[in-house]
Symmetry: C2
Subunit: 205 residues, 2 copies
């Protein structure tokens, strides 16, 4: 995936961030398949050598864009959730926090799109760095902690349940996109129903 970030000078790290931001704009405008490294080079105004020093290929660059943005989103959500209290409150806060994030950060939609384009292009390679797997891990952890504390009650396996919840949120955005309803009002409405569905499940005995 290019040079290890922790071996960069402060200037190198700043250049890397600049390339990632430029690449995100290019992938958003052209789509992964049609975007070229030359487009990213032009968008940054850097030399070709400078861009290739950080990212050896379009695939490496696109994976880094997705990882960077999704890691940022994941860290943000973790911080927001921790402010809500114990694991049960955090599970209940998950959908509203995610909805706010997707609405406040339009990159939320384009990252999902780029992630899907990458998944369909190189599923094996991508599986290793999938941030979806980290979302599943986060939700599973909260479900298990809530169950241990006696605050959440569900009979299903926590990993499978976390997979279902994460898939449901991700798929909801996909269905809204595919049916021309990818706007804040429709997302809030449908996500509210998803929150009720999750509530019915974690209260089940």
């Amino acid at each position: 995936m290019g040079r290890p970030v922790d071996q960069l000078t402060p200037k190198g790290a700043a250049t890397r961030r600049e390339i990632l931001r430029a690449a995100a704009r290019v992938f958003d405008a052209k789509g992964y398949a049609l975007a070229r490294m030359d487009d990213v080079v032009s968008e940054t105004g850097l030399t070709k050598g400078a861009v290739y020093f950080h990212f050896k290929s379009k695939a490496a660059l696109a994976h880094a864009v997705v990882d960077d943005q999704k890691q940022g989103m994941l860290a943000h959500v973790r911080r927001q959730l921790e402010g809500l209290g114990g694991p049960a409150a955090q599970v209940r806060g998950l959908v509203p926090v995610l909805v706010d994030l997707v609405i406040a950060e339009p990159a939320g939609w384009s990252v999902v799109r780029l992630d899907r384009e990458l998944t369909t292009e190189s599923p094996q390679e991508h599986a290793q760095v999938s941030v979806l797997a980290e979302w599943v891990g986060l939700v599973e952890e909260l479900l298990l902690a809530g169950a241990r504390a006696g605050d959440l009650h569900f009979s299903a396996d926590a990993h499978a349940l976390a997979t279902v919840f994460v898939g449901a949120f991700d798929g909801l955005k996909g269905v809204l996109e595919a049916t021309g309803r990818a706007n804040p009002e429709e997302l809030r409405r449908a996500a509210g129903v998803l929150a009720e569905v999750i509530e019915a499940t974690i209260e089940a005995h």
Copy 2:
């Protein structure tokens, strides 16, 4: 989207089906962005003129492939569900029937992939013909009929709930793909949990 199907001779209709099957193989092998009309022409063994008589562009052809396969899947699922009895039994049968279909018909995965590639390439155009919207319509219809008969109990709006259920199944396949678990065992396991989640919701008062 090419010539209206009902104006074709039987021979023309057979040629159209042949082109759709060849195109499905090409899109599956190369991905939408890299596939070319010439590849489809080669794959069919027909003349360029014959292919373009039916489909004016790659986009038109790809939309027809997705619609054809998804309409086929939708019709199949409707028939399977009708065999299960009333609307409540049909809602409960939805996940198992879909799982069997996806497992028996590997095209299930590649159609989802092509559909996503198209949605990201031309979301507006695609919104009009989205088969996901028809799935939402089918599930909404079953939920409303089950509620009217007093067999299903939910407080959420039926359309939003149908959107959530369809998104959850679609997203589940996406998460399994993205985490390297797109195989029958994992799908059955996770889908079983999704069925429990739906059950908890339609029993809620």
